[in-house]
Amino acid sequence: MSVLLERLIATLGREAVLSSPAELLVYECDGYTIEKNRPDVVVFPTSTEQIVQIVRVCNELEVPFLPRGAGTSLAGGVLPVGGGVVISLARMKKIRQVDTRNRYAIVEPGVVNLSLTNYLKPHGWHFAPDPSSQGACTIGGNVATNSGGPHTLKYGVTVNHVLGVELVLPDGRVVTTGGPIEDAPGYDLTGVIVGSEGTFGIVSKIWVRLTRNPEAYRTLLGVFETVDDATNTISDLIGAGIIPAALEMLDAPILSAIEAAFHFGFPLDAGAVLIMEVDGLAAGLDADAERIEKIARRNRAREVRRANTEAERALLWKSRKQAFGAVGRLAPSYCTQDGVVPRTKLPEMLRKIQYIGERYNLKICNVFHAGDGNIHPILLFDERDADQVQRVLKASHDILDECIRLGGSVTGEHGIGVEKIDFMPKLFSPEDLAMMLRLRAAFNPYGRCSPRKMLPTAGACIEQSKVGRRAAL
């Protein structure tokens, strides 16, 4: 048994440590499966103190370590690039405190997003960020990636709902930033820890902002003959100053997959549909819904349906949020991309995606957070076919390059991870990146925490004895 393993077992007990190859298999990658690497050990702390002890051991033995939530990252965020220790927060899942009077809750990082919202339901409150993966992903993971979701169009992304965190720094110190009392003078470290993708340390406790449940919803389904009509509708809605609670687009290929899985009753001959939802006080919602309907019809919507019951609305959202799951019916493998363009550029971007699909002879379907300009083209392929894999990678790159060309970004919510490191120099100058590296050095001077993530040169000094990064295919 290695010294590392011995020390970790001595610290945490055997039940909290995984080390056999079979057990480690699941931890080789996350939702981004194109690259894999096995960690040396996976540990399951149950307290901040245990995280501190693990981090100390890793530092003493000069082993890299990496926090992991539910492993739903789509960017290789929890790919253990240099091997080392994966610190799973899955057993730290207590909701510590709920204070609706002061609009906050304190949770451990392993709390699953949806379980907090479900817990709050009887109180009439919720945690606003609602990633499509919310049934599985953890709030710690949301914090690390600054997650969005369908309803973050109106309510804002994770950072807008995080008041403070407790962070185990890469050197083992524990620090608390922020908290329930607003505006304490000083730097907004919480704001910059959110979205730092695990490279600033391990988030061990989170103060989240709670949001009141809306009194009512109006959920519309606009059915369009063409993708163009749908994207023009989005552009017109935003241009008219309408901010729906959610505005999601699904194109024909994804609709047929979802329909087969959920039998919602989507029209299979439509070019695209838009889920358009307004929420809040009941007063005024009908007027909002009418304005939306008018704009959709002006853009030649064939039909605008309304979800008439709560059950219908729930099924519609279930169909949307589990769309990725349904994709499995279309092809053995798929790669979900994440890019952003200014919202008025969506028609142009979607045409370009279609062109890129044709160019590389790939099937691409689209289901995405349209109101934010946040596209999620899903590229279908068969991972056993090396040529297809190459084409998928090339097509992905072309799509992301186009996002940059249109003034957007290469990730709206999934993060840079390992997947998009090469795009950072396209988005940022060497000087910009140097400032980011300086900031990282303040938190993570030896680069031992989450090495080789997010920034091109990150943690390059850490070389493991083990095999490094290798492609799974």
Binding site: G191, N374, L439
Partner: protein, 406 residues
């Protein structure tokens, strides 16, 4: 305003340079020992005096609109633009930045962000943190570097935007900003009503539980009401509840709130709607930095503690003005007559003991050495210093003026 030189807290005169380009701004920073960025000079008395000699960099000539794709609801501007000017440009497209900024004709966007200025609408509309999506700053080497971008959703790279907000210019000079903006709401209305101290805790609880969704939930004591010229105060406290939304939603909320208040036996509500709300919003905004205040404090408490804290503060001698953003737990206490040194120290201490944090917003220069202006160091003070050291290793930006060691 003297162009050639400026004093900060009696220190100076510092030579004032007004760069007309970012390149020139960078040049100046590269050559300077220490730089003190200036925006509209409306909040120069915030913080300690400079601890070192240096130059003042006036950003007001860097005031261009770089890009305003109104249909995307974003705008990119240089940081020296005056807030009122920015709002005029946005209003031309039916949009706005929902931040309440006092002396907006003078205040620049850069200054507003560096001080994280906010006002009454923060309850419903949030703060600068919720609107800044991209930022360019000039670093200690005189290079302009950026973070974020121009799209409303973006997680590429560290979000340095957040770090510069409320950093008082100590991490670099903000040169350009991209903002997410909002449509100007169709309707605006406010409801004001008085209450006595004993009724305050219950009333605030009930307002928290209200079915309505106010954008503003402000609490003022009679002295503040008088100073703001809002109306003739009849009771110890005045609550100002504001709504901004569609016509129908605002109308319903006003009716609903009146129903709820009637159940609570509140009488004598005053309402304003449409254009008539303008002076109310204006007065509330100016009250966040009232003219003539000699000694001003800002406390942060939990929203559930506002009633007790405000009542206590109102009982302090010297007839202070109390203005709370009750839904957020921010309470400002202003004395028009500057108390003598020992009284000021005592006021600060007694309030600090009851608050989560307490900042001295304004006081005579002579008192500054006696007062911990920024309050007790935060739990993450050491990490903040590490961040400061990483981004400004030679301590060039606003030395001495902000937190200890920063």
């Amino acid at each position: 305003m003297d162009d050639a030189s400026c004093q900060i807290d009696g220190i100076g005169p510092l030579p004032v340079i007004r760069p007309t380009s970012v390149v020139e701004l960078g040049e100046q920073i590269r050559q300077a020992e220490a730089v003190f960025p200036l925006g509209g000079r409306t909040q120069l008395d915030l913080g300690y005096p400079p601890s070192r000699d240096g130059i003042a960099l006036d950003l007001t000539r860097l005031d261009q609109i770089i890009d305003y794709p109104a249909r995307d609801m974003t705008i990119t501007v240089q940081a020296g633009i005056r807030l009122a000017q920015l709002q005029r440009v946005l209003a031309g497209e039916g949009q706005r930045l929902p931040l309440d900024v006092p002396r907006a004709e003078q205040a620049t966007l850069g200054g507003v962000l560096a001080t994280n200025t906010s006002g009454s609408r923060r309850y419903g509309a949030g703060t600068a943190r919720d609107y800044v999506i991209g930022i360019s700053t000039v670093n200690d080497e005189g290079q302009e570097t950026k973070a974020g971008g121009r799209v409303v959703k973006n997680v590429a790279g560290y979000d340095l935007c957040k770090l510069h907000l409320g950093a008082l210019g100590t991490l670099g000079v903000i040169s350009q900003v991209t903002l997410k903006v909002r449509p100007i709401p169709e309707a605006s209305a406010v409801l004001m009503f008085g209450c006595e101290t004993a009724a305050l805790p219950t009333l605030l609880e009930e307002l928290h539980a209200s079915q309505t969704r106010p954008i503003c939930l402000d609490l003022l004591n009679a002295a503040a009401v008088r100073h703001a010229g809002l109306l003739q105060p009849k009771q110890a406290w005045l609550l100002v509840i504001g709504f901004e939304d569609s016509e129908t939603a605002v109308h319903w909320q006003m009716q609903q709130l009146i129903r709820e208040l009637t159940r609570l036996n509140v009488v004598g509500t005053e309402a304003a709607a449409g254009a008539a709300t303008q002076p109310v919003w204006q007065s509330l905004t100016e009250l966040t930095a009232p003219t003539g205040a000699g000694f001003s404090l800002q406390a942060g408490v939990l929203p559930s503690q506002v009633a007790e804290f405000a009542a206590f503060a109102a009982g302090l001698p010297g007839d202070p003005l109390i203005h709370a953003h009750a839904g957020n737990g921010l309470v400002r206490v202003h004395w028009l007559q500057t108390p003598d040194a020992s009284t000021a120290v005592a006021h600060r201490e007694t309030l600090a003991a009851r608050a989560g944090h307490l900042t001295v917003l304004r006081c005579p220069s002579a008192l500054k050495p006696l007062l911990p202006l920024w309050g007790t160091p935060r739990a993450d003070a050491e990490l903040m210093r590490q961040v400061k050291h990483a981004l400004d290793p030679r301590g060039r930006f606003n030395p001495g003026r902000f937190l200890q060691g920063i």
